[in-house]
C-alpha cells in the first residue's frame, strides 16, 4: 500500500533522511518511533508531498509520489498534525466538510451528513458548531482526525498526534486512534506512546539518524530489541528518571 525505497532528503547541508526503506501493507498500523530530529516527521511529510524527497521512490497504491501525482496521492493519504492545524475561522463541522466540498466537490448536504457521522465516531457530535479556539487540545485533535477521515483516504498519517496535549487528554485521542486501527484503517503514526504502539501497531520502525535503524513486529520489537541503540532508547522512554 505504501512503499519507500532508498528515500533521501536534505535541508541544505543537513541530511535529514538517508536511505529510508519500508513497506506498510493495507490495513496495517506502523508506528515510527525514535529520538527528536531523527527524521520521523519528515518521512510522513514526504509521503504526503508536503516535502519533496531528493532521491529514492515513494509509492502509494502503486503510484509514485511526484509533483504531477500529488493530487492523486493526497486524495489517497490524509494527514493529522501535531498542532492540529484546524482552520480557526471555521466551525468543527465546517473544518470537516472543507475538503469534501471544496476539493472533492461533494454537495454540502452529503458532506454534512457524513461529517456528522464522523463527529459521532470521534465523540464530538455535540461540538459540531464550536470554533476550534473554544475546544481543548484533545477535542481539536479529534476534529483533526475526523477532518482527515472525511476525505475517505486509503491511509492516514499521524504526526505525533498526542504530543501537544495535556496528559489527561492523551487517552481520548489514543482511543479514537485505537478504534481506527481496529477498524482496519491503514495508518502510519509517529509517536512516543509506547503503550499505544504495543497494543495497536503491527510493526514498529525505529528511526535514528535519518534511517530505519531497526524494525519488526510490535511485540517482538518491544520485548526483544536487537540493537543496543534501540534498547537504550526504549529504556529511556519507559524510565525517564
Amino acid at each position: 500500500m505504501i512503499r519507500l525505497r532508498g528515500v533521501r532528503k536534505s535541508f541544505g547541508e543537513r541530511d535529514v533522511l538517508r536511505d529510508v526503506s519500508f513497506d506498510v501493507a493495507a490495513g496495517e498500523v506502523a508506528c515510527l518511533i525514535g529520538p527528536s530530529g531523527s527524521g520521523k516527521s519528515t518521512i510522513l511529510r514526504c509521503i504526503n508531498g508536503l516535502e519533496s524527497h531528493d532521491a529514492g521512490t515513494i509509492e502509494v497504491d502503486g503510484v509514485a509520489v511526484t509533483p504531477q501525482s500529488l493530487p492523486q496521492v493526497r486524495a489517497a493519504v490524509s494527514m493529522v498534525f501535531q498542532r492540529f492545524n484546524l482552520f480557526p475561522h471555521r466551525t468543527a463541522l465546517d473544518n470537516i466538510i472543507e475538503g469534501p466540498v471544496h476539493v472533492l466537490g461533494q454537495p454540502v448536504a452529503k458532506a454534512t451528513a457524513r461529517a456528522m457521522a464522523l463527529l459521532e465516531r470521534v465523540g464530538m457530535a455535540s461540538h459540531a458548531q464550536a470554533f476550534p479556539r473554544h475546544l481543548s487540545g484533545g477535542q481539536q485533535q479529534r476534529i483533526g482526525i475526523a477532518r482527515a477521515l472525511a476525505m475517505e483516504p486509503r491511509a492516514i498519517l499521524l504526526d505525533e498526534p498526542t504530543s501537544a496535549l495535556d496528559p489527561e487528554r492523551v487517552g481520548e485521542v489514543l482511543k479514537v486512534m485505537r478504534d481506527l486501527a481496529d477498524g482496519g484503517m491503514t495508518m502510519i503514526v509517529v509517536t512516543h506512546e509506547i503503550a499505544f504502539a504495543r497494543e495497536a501497531a503491527d510493526q514498529i520502525l525505529f528511526v535514528d539518524g535519518g534511517t530505519i535503524a531497526e524494525q519488526g513486529p510490535a511485540a517482538e520489537f518491544l520485548s526483544n530489541p536487537k540493537t543496543d541503540r534501540t534498547r537504550l532508547f526504549l529504556s529511556r522512554v519507559r524510565h525517564p528518571l
Partner: protein, 217 residues
C-alpha cells in the same frame, strides 16, 4: 465670536457640499486602491515570475512619484495622448493608483501573517493554489489587514485635498474659493480643518475597534 458664527452659517452649506465631494472622492479612490492593491499583491504571489516582477516594478514606480505629479500626469498629460478624463475620474484614478501600492503593502502584511501550518493543512487536503487562497489565505489574511487598511483610508481622506489642484470642487478647493472671495481666511480654514477632523475621527475610532477585536483573538 458672533461674527464667526454668522460667517460659519454662511460658509457651511458650501463647505458641506465640498465635504460631500471629498467623501465621494475618497470612497471611489478607496475602492480603486483596494482592487488594484489586491491585484498587485496576488501578482506578487504568483508562480509565474514575470507577474511578480511587474508587480514589484509597478509598486516601486508608483511609490516613488509624488501624488500631485501623478495627478498632473493623468489630468494634463494623458489628454495630449488622446485620453481626456473629466476631473473627477482623473482624481479617482490618480488617488486610487497612488494608494494602491500602500494597500498592497497592507494586504501583504495581512496575508503573510497567515499561519504556515494552516496552509499546510489545506495543501494536505489537496487544495490547489486558487482554492487555498480563496478558502484559507484570503479569509484569514484580509481581516488581519483591516486595521492598517483603516489607517491608510484616513491618509487617503486627507490626501484627497490634492485633487483640489485639478479643479475638483472638494472641501479644500471649495474653501480656497470662499477664502479668496471673502478674505476670511481664518474662519474658512478653521472650518475646513474641523470638517476634516469630523470625518477622520470616527474612522480612527473604527480602526481602534478593529485592532481591539484582533488583539482579543
Amino acid at each position: 465670536m458672533q461674527e464667526f458664527l454668522a460667517d460659519a452659517a454662511l460658509f457651511l452649506p458650501v463647505l458641506l457640499r465640498g465635504l460631500g465631494m471629498t467623501l465621494l472622492l475618497t470612497a471611489a479612490a478607496l475602492a480603486v486602491s483596494i482592487a488594484l492593491g489586491l491585484l498587485w499583491v496576488l501578482m506578487g504571489y504568483a508562480r509565474f515570475a514575470p507577474l511578480r516582477w511587474i508587480s514589484r516594478a509597478i509598486i516601486n514606480v508608483i511609490r516613488g512619484i509624488p501624488i500631485i505629479v501623478q495627478l498632473f500626469c493623468i489630468y494634463f498629460v494623458l489628454p495630449e495622448w488622446g485620453l481626456d478624463l473629466p476631473p473627477f475620474a482623473a482624481g479617482v484614478l490618480g488617488l486610487g493608483l497612488a494608494y494602491s501600492v500602500y494597500q498592497a503593502e497592507n494586504f501583504r502584511g495581512g496575508l503573510s501573517s497567515v499561519d504556515k501550518d494552516l496552509i499546510e493543512a489545506g495543501t494536505m487536503l489537496g487544495m490547489t493554489w486558487p482554492v487555498l487562497m480563496r478558502r484559507v489565505v484570503l479569509p484569514l489574511g484580509i481581516p488581519a489587514a483591516l486595521p492598517s487598511l483603516g489607517n491608510t483610508t484616513i491618509m487617503l481622506l486627507k490626501d484627497s485635498s490634492i485633487a483640489s489642484t485639478i479643479t475638483i470642487a472638494e472641501l479644500t478647493r471649495a474653501g480656497q474659493l470662499l477664502a479668496i472671495s471673502t478674505f476670511k481666511n481664518g474662519t474658512v480654514y478653521l472650518l475646513i480643518a474641523l470638517l476634516y477632523l469630523a470625518a477622520s475621527l470616527p474612522m480612527a475610532a473604527a480602526v481602534r475597534a478593529l485592532e481591539r477585536r484582533f488583539a482579543r483573538k
